[in-house]
């Protein structure tokens, strides 16, 4: 990778970080409705995976999906506006934080149902396989989701059909307040790959380059028609389960230890070692902050959707669809 490419990874991680912080702030200030799952601390997974994808590849995301979709190229403003519930949002204010989607950028959608997206990823991959266009689907899900029935059914199907999916288990050590240790006995989610006779790999999810490398390998395999990979990225969320959760279930010292392995700190250190000047990185960050502020501003100033729009988009506007709303 060139230095510019490396810096771009950092920039995307910064975007996610600041996006999430601004969103959390706005939420706590009562400007964002609903509830929020922050991905702060997990940026290296999103960016490592998505940087390994082609533009026409797809991601399937989760309730904790801001990072995934930003890394896949979602428009900052449209996304922020969506989270604010505004008409300018990428889903016209109908989806919100848990349902961001942008098909033009290969973002199939976040999901409010734990494990709900995994079977859908297969379908997108199946279409790619049928069309022989070399597209790959990166399917994110959490450690908690790896105990849902859909995980099992979908990995088995992808396995027997050799579907081009990279199953990214984003293991942030907790499903809500339940630590991985308490919700499954396997040490690694990737150990479950054996149940489908597909490759499983564990990477340091706070090391963006390691995630990227592993994803590239899995994508290569998928594009060669050799089928899916289960890639586990070990990471940690700095916020609680949702913004506002005090995270009382954490072990003492645990958060602090992970903060020291903050993916942004690690990667900045790496970049500096590679000779990227600290000042350039500071400027980059300032630029990102400004960009995110503009998105907040855009969202803030945008209008709420008009009431009647609530009746649109239930059905595609076919003759039957138009009559089905009755």
């Amino acid at each position: 990778m060139t230095k510019e490419e490396l810096v771009l990874l950092h920039k995307t991680m910064l975007q996610i970080r600041h996006f999430e912080h601004e969103v959390a702030k706005a939420f706590l200030a009562g400007r964002i409705p609903g509830f929020l799952h922050s991905s702060v601390g997990q940026e290296a997974v999103a960016v490592g995976v998505c940087s390994a994808l082609r533009e026409d590849d797809y991601v399937v995301s989760t309730h904790r999906g801001h990072g995934h979709v930003l890394a896949k190229g979602a428009d900052l403003k449209a996304m922020m506006a969506e989270i604010y519930g505004k008409v300018t949002g990428c889903c016209k204010g109908k989806g919100g934080s848990m349902h961001i989607a942008d098909f033009d950028r290969g973002i199939v959608g976040a999901n409010g149902i734990v494990g709900g997206g995994i079977p859908i990823a297969n379908g997108v991959a199946l279409a790619a396989k049928k069309r022989k266009n070399g597209q790959v689907v990166a399917c994110f899900f959490g450690d908690g989701a790896s105990n849902q029935g859909t995980f099992h059914e979908a990995l088995n199907l992808a396995s027997i059909w050799d579907l081009p999916v990279v199953f990214v288990a984003e293991n942030n050590m907790y499903g809500m307040g339940t630590s991985q240790r308490r919700h499954q006995k396997v040490e690694n989610i990737a150990d479950r790959a054996a149940a489908y006779k597909i490759p499983g790999a564990v990477v340091d999810g706070n090391d963006v380059l390691a995630v990227r490398e592993a994803t590239l390998a899995a994508c290569d395999r998928a594009r060669r028609g050799e089928g899916p990979t289960l890639l586990e990225c070990k990471t940690y969320r700095h916020y609680g389960h949702f913004v506002g959760d005090p995270g009382l279930y954490r072990e003492p010292g645990e958060l602090e230890a992970w903060m020291e392995r903050d993916p942004l700190i690690l990667f900045r250190r790496y970049l500096e070692k590679q000779g990227v000047p600290a000042a350039a990185l500071d400027e980059l960050e300032a630029q990102v902050i400004e960009e995110v502020r503009e998105a907040v501003d855009f969202a803030h100033r945008s209008d709420e959707p008009a009431e009647e729009t609530a009746l649109e988009d239930v059905y595609a506007p076919t003759e039957a669809g138009r009559r089905a709303i009755w």
């Binding site: 279409a127 076919t318 039957a320 089905a324």
Partner: protein, 325 residues
């Protein structure tokens, strides 16, 4: 004279024609390939179109619906088979929270040309987990279209429409009708979703009946005609969208309504029809609306009990007599 084919053949013809017509159409389900489907509906299609168009899956219904809907989201036109409608319980999230809502949640960014075919109904002593009629769950799930045909003619034309439709459609066949014959023209035709069909005209009582119950209602009407009572049999054919106009027009004429379906009465489709009519045609109603439905129990195994639980011709006759006063 027009040729007669069975509902099974009607489904198969519709599938074959749409598979030929559109490369994006493919079938996905359990043993629908070489095996030809547990009800032999897809027999021969695997041989004709090959395993890439007729896709056998493991016994993983959530994975089936997910795969179909994911493919639909990027422009394919899958037809998924759920072997019996009873099994939607294991994939209800994929149907009701994913397929039905994805377009809405994304503000219209996704179009889902997805068809889910599945047979329902009792009559074969298949007991509580293989005999249900679950259309009420589906009509209560905004985002889905729901089709429930009765005749081979309707089956073929509506299934072709469903496959060409850009919205998720649940297409509920009836296992007892697979061998039922009826006239179906040779040539291509499509029946638009959302148009009821008057299966018999009559001035005295409107009978709204779905799926296999259309035949029971016709039989009841024939017997009642001998007494001079003329029933008008309205077959909605699609429950969502519902051809309310056809029902209301008929009630405006007859002033009396009996609704017949095989699902349990409580919370069934018949309640919706009754609620619509009492709201929109109140002044036309000359008598209480009667529902003829299955009793509010799971389906028993014993044929005698099954018959007792499900609506019979004589129950329809009795209900019509009641509304005639």
């Amino acid at each position: 004279m027009m040729r007669e084919i069975t509902c099974r053949e009607a489904v198969r013809e519709a599938l074959r024609e749409e598979l030929q017509r559109d490369e994006d159409v493919f079938l996905i389900g359990e043993d629908i390939g070489f095996y030809g489907g547990t009800n032999k509906v897809t027999e021969g299609l695997w041989q004709e179109f090959g395993p890439e168009r007729i896709m056998d899956t493991p016994i993983s219904e959530a994975a089936i619906i997910g795969a179909a809907l994911g493919a639909a989201a990027v422009g394919m036109r899958p037809v998924a088979e759920i072997m019996f409608v009873d099994f939607i319980g294991v994939c209800m999230d994929q149907i009701a929270n994913q397929a039905a809502k994805l377009r809405y949640m994304t503000g219209g960014k996704v179009t889902l040309p997805l068809t889910i075919r599945t047979p329902g109904g009792a009559g074969r002593s298949a007991a509580a987990q293989h005999s249900q009629s679950l259309e009420a769950w589906l009509i209560h799930t905004p985002g889905l279209l729901v089709v429930m045909p009765s005749t081979p003619y309707d089956t073929k034309g509506l299934l072709k429409a469903a496959i060409r439709e850009d919205n998720p459609v649940v297409f509920i066949e009836n296992k007892m009708l697979y061998n039922t014959k009826g006239p179906v023209p040779e040539g291509e035709y499509v029946i638009p979703l959302g148009k009821a069909d008057i299966k018999r005209e009559g001035r005295d009582v409107t009978v709204v009946a779905t799926s296999r119950m259309v035949y029971f209602a016709l039989e009841a009407a024939a017997q009642l005609a001998a007494e001079g009572i003329e029933c008008e049999i309205v077959d909605p054919r699609t429950l969502v969208p519902l051809d309310k106009e056809a029902i209301l027009e008929s009630v405006a004429k007859t002033g009396r309504l009996v609704v017949v379906h095989e699902a349990p009465e409580r919370g069934g489709f018949g309640a919706e029809v009754a609620a619509i009519v009492v709201n929109e045609a109140f002044d036309y109603l000359d008598a209480p609306i009667q529902r003829v439905c299955s009793k509010n129990t799971p389906m028993p195994f014993s044929p005698r009990l099954e018959r007792f639980i499900t609506p019979q011709v004589e129950d329809i006759i009795a209900a019509v007599r009641t509304v005639m006063g």
